[in-house]
Amino acid sequence: MSSNNQVNIKCAALAKIVLHSARWSHLAVNGVLLGPSLDAGKTSELEIVDAVPLFHQQLSLAPMLDVALNMVETHYRSKGLQIVGYYQANEHVKDVVPDFVAMKITEKIAENYDSACLIMLDNRKVCLQMESNPLIVSQVTQDGKWKNRDKSCVTLESRSLSSVSELLQKQVHQEIVDFDLHFDDISFNWTNAPINDLINSFVAA
């Protein structure tokens, strides 16, 4: 288990999590985290490259979760990425405690990926001018318990907070697609390619 390792989070991951939560701000939302397909034991750092929004309706139902996870794994395998964790933003603004759904799904992910992490979004830190990292990261420790990682061990890609703040100001969150939306109408593309392009242009600038 990687209790001392750094966790590096790219702007795209932060952006997708925040935008997803902002679009359906009165509901709980969840999704999975993507990282490079490397053997976890061989790297000293966990890199979270992107996030894929899953649901904003019932988070605790199994069938669509099974379908979505399968689609995500298949799609990103060819791009050298795999599911390395799970994120959730609770419906209540002050609630950052993972519920049974979050624990269950992350444990399932951890079966395939030792360093799997669980990210809870601190809704109170989401605003139009974000100043501090709103993500609370936890991982399983040596003794099998879930523990919050210290803030000093978690780094965001530079300019992430300002970029995501700008995305919120421009109301980009109205465009983000998750699997619930995709299953309602499959012409909505859950890979969010246009938003990814926009995020990349911000970070490159």
């Binding site: 019932q58 199994a62 099974d66 399968n70 689609m71 209540h92 499959i186 012409s187």
Partner: protein, 294 residues
Amino acid sequence: MIGLKFEEVRDELRKWREDNSRQSEEVVDRWTYCLQHNKNKLGDERWMVEEQVFVAALDCNRMDIADQCLHSLAKKFPNSLRVAKLKGMRLEALEKFDDALQIYERIVREDETNSTARKRRIAVLRGQRRYVDAIKELNEYLQLFMSDWEAWQELLDLYLKEGDYAKAAFCMEELLMSNPHNAIYYTRYAEVKYTQGGLENMEIAKTYFGQAVKLNPKNIRALFGLQLSCEQIASSPKTTVQKKKEAIRVAEYASQLIKQRYAALSSPASTHGDQNLVESLSALTVGGEKTSRP
């Protein structure tokens, strides 16, 4: 936004009222840039619009707009219980829950048949994250107002949040009885049964997903659900040979329909990608990593 015509905006808000959809940011924008300067053109609809904008403003933490609307409504309808409820909602938005509850209790005392104030009480409990209390009070409410479908849906939502799938299934059964032609209800019920797991529940899931597909063949959730539940049935050691054959046949049928739906998407690039995804889904081996839900 500036270019939106008054009539279009008015019609949009009417549609959102009818659908009961929560488009708070949009409603507040349209009020700010268009409607508030044209209030008098709304006629009788004005008061419903002000109420709608009030609630949307609370959602967006625009207390300035909310207070303006509330002031107009209170002036027009001085002793109205409906306006009193709005005052309660304002207090809820300010997290002054006890004060809000006092208002709702007064409304119920004055009018026992008032269901919205009772439901607001339950909303307060949910706002305070007292989910177990909210469930208890919602059950009591439904004893009195048993055909309130919005309330049954709220109860379903709360049970699912708490992981009580059996009680969630019961709520879904009530909703199905009221609405036996609603494909979404069939799908949702099937999803709950699937999540409960076990062969018997899986067979029920398969039946209800199948019914949802009959009611609406375009429902992709029902198609995926049908395929998955059949695969689960086929891979169970307790399934008879005949049922296994039938399950595999239905799974393949569902898989074909899904492939057709994705193939019909216009973009060739996404079609190709999605075809691969669908192939991978139907390649899930019977008896593979999928295990029955605990």
